[in-house]
Each structure stands twice: as structure tokens, then as C-alpha cells.
């Protein structure tokens, strides 16, 4: 899900940054409006750590394997904090592990970070059942992550298929991209179930972590 350097044309990488910068600014503006941001930084830091190492957790989906992304979980628990947290996580993954790249940091932030904000808004719908409702929390936690991974995969496929490098065999590459996208369908359900589990667990042991989200 991390697009590396040398895949997308320069114009697309620049466009990625051009979109990521105002989205980051908007997220920071929203965070500041919510009150003292320092209160939520410990939670955001811990989830950034989880996001940072999640890309090492590979789940075999024959014939390929996919890795955890956790963007839906970040959105559900962090709200607007998710976007800057994902940006920092992606930056560290790019410079430390070579997952993704610095030229594509903007594009990857959009592909993974924007769906996290969508997940946040889906997770908020649980308040229709009341904030303390376990079933509602589980269902909307599940849907939030399911949609986050689904949207990320969609954006990833659209970007890659439209900008297949000219020197590659386009048919082979298209098939490989679609095979990888198909591998993300089980991941949608895995991450959905994981987010449902984590949010329901938090609701029971530390319900204050989910208040106001």
C-alpha cells in the first residue's frame, strides 16, 4: 500500500504534496479547536508506534501477502489526530525501512490518511446508539476500518493503473495490481474485526479514551 519512489510521475508526487499540505493544516486546525492538544498526544503517539510497526506484520493471502495498515483504527480512536500521526508514521517508515518513499510521502498520506478521516466520521455514527453502547461501538468500529482499507485500496489501484511506468508491460502490471487489490479484501475484514475488538475493549476498560471521538 506504500507507493515507493520511482513509480509515479513527478507531477503526481507534487500533486500529492499539494493536497496533503492543506489537509494536514485542516487537521491541525480542527485539533486546536477541540481544546488542549497535549491531552491527546500520548494516545496519538502510542497509535503512531503501532502504525509504524504494523507494516511489518504480514498476513498471508495466497498467492500474495498483505500487511496491516491500521488506518481505520487510527481514525476511529484519534479523530483528526490520525492524519498528522499517519504522516509521521509514513515518514519514519520511508526513511527507516524504505516502505514508501519521500517523493511519494504526500501521495501515500492521501491514500492512507484521508480514508482514516472517513473512518473517524463513520465511527462517530455509533453515537446514534449512544456512546456507551457496546454493539454500536463494535459495528461502527468494524465498518470504519472496513471502509478505510477499502477506500485506500481503491485510491491505490486507481493511481497505479493510471500511471503505470511507460517501460513496464502494462497488461502484466495491471494484472499484478488487481491481484494485490484482491488480497486486500480479506484485510478489510481482518482490520474491521480488529478495530471492533479494540474499540469494544477500550469501551470496557478505559471508556474515557473514546469520549468525544
Amino acid at each position: 500500500m506504500h507507493i515507493p519512489d520511482g513509480y509515479l510521475p513527478t507531477a503526481v508526487c507534487a500533486a500529492g504534496y499539494a493536497i496533503a499540505v492543506p489537509v494536514t493544516a485542516f487537521a491541525l486546525y480542527k485539533i486546536r479547536k477541540e481544546g488542549d492538544p497535549r491531552e491527546k498526544i500520548p494516545k496519538a503517539s502510542l497509535l503512531t508506534a503501532a502504525f509504524f510497526v504494523a507494516s511489518w506484520i504480514h498476513i498471508p493471502v495466497p498467492p500474495t501477502s498483505v500487511h496491516l495498515i491500521l488506518s481505520g483504527l487510527m481514525g476511529s480512536i484519534l479523530g483528526y489526530f490520525a492524519f498528522p500521526a499517519i504522516l509521521i508514521g509514513l515518514f519514519l517508515q520511508a526513511v527507516m525501512f524504505g516502505h514508501g518513499g519521500l517523493s511519494t510521502l504526500g501521495v501515500n498520506a492521501i491514500v492512507i490518511g484521508l480514508p482514516a478521516l472517513v473512518a473517524y466520521h463513520i465511527f462517530r455514527l455509533r453515537t446514534l446508539f449512544g456512546e456507551a453502547n457496546r454493539t454500536g461501538t463494535g459495528i461502527f468500529g468494524f465498518l470504519a476500518s472496513l471502509c478505510a482499507i477499502g477506500i485506500s485500496t481503491g485510491l491505490f489501484v486507481v493511481l497505479l493503473i493510471n500511471f503505470i511506468p511507460a517501460d513496464m508491460d502494462a497488461d502484466d502490471e495491471r494484472n499484478a495490481i488487481l491481484a494485490l487489490a484482491l488480497g486486500h479484501v480479506p484485510l478489510m475484514f481482518i482490520e474491521g474485526a480488529f478495530t471492533a475488538f479494540v474499540t469494544m475493549f477500550l469501551l470496557r476498560v478505559r471508556p474515557q479514551m473514546l469520549i468525544g471521538i
Binding site: 513509480y7 491531552e39 500520548p42 524504505g98 513496464m168 502490471e173 499484478a176 491481484a179
Partner: protein, 146 residues
Amino acid sequence: MKHSIIVLIFILAILYLPTTAYAHGAKIEYTVATNIEIVAKYDSGEPMAKAQVSIYAPDNPSTPWLTGTCDEEGRFSFTPDTSIPGTWDIQVRQAGHGDMIHITIDEGSVSGSSSSGYSTGQIIIMAVCVIWGILGTALFFKRRKA
């Protein structure tokens, strides 16, 4: 008359052609070529089966010198043109994943580096350092709040 001359030339030509072919016998030439084999794997350890390879010669970094496909084990081998010394770029890509390595070829000597410059131990230490920093940040702000 005219016909017989043509026939005669034709017969002479047939007789002549094989003699030129056999007169020199067999000849085998050889040159020592440097064969480069690459193995491409994802960082999960599984091979990049059927991944596409693009090789760029030092004199033309924009158009691939050779393109090909890895086998099921992620292997691909090729013989670079040693008359073009410099840094050759080898890019392996599949489904939005990929990497590039650089191999320097100078008058027969080949030196290069693997793209994954870190060992597992180094990666673990880097990950631990980053997480330590993140936990420190978390604890710092938790303390300020209290």
C-alpha cells in the same frame, strides 16, 4: 545459346557456393562476459515472482537498455555491455512495489550494493529506537497533563 550461358553460370554458382562454405571450416570465438544475476524479494522474504525488471545503462538513464521478467523465485540474470562503464541501474517492480539497485561496471570489474542495506538486527534496533522516542513523547505529555 543465351539459355545455355545462364544455365552454365547457374551450375558454376552452385558448385562454387558450397566450396566457399566448407573451405574455412568451423570457427568458434569467445569473449569473457560478466553475467549478473539478481534476486528480488519482498521484505517479508517471499520472492517477487514474475516481477518486471528494467535495466538502465549509464549512457541512457531515461530509456531501459533491457527489460525482462523475473522467474518464480524472483531471479533474473543478464550480461551487461562492459564497453559502457559506469553505474547501471536495475529496477524491479511489481504491483506498486519495487526497488532499484546500482551496480558499477568498470572495465571488467563489477561492484555493487544490495538494496536492503540493513540487517534484521539493525532494523529491530531502529524500530526499538523509534518506539522508545514515541513512548517518551507519550509519557512526557502525560506527565505535563497531570
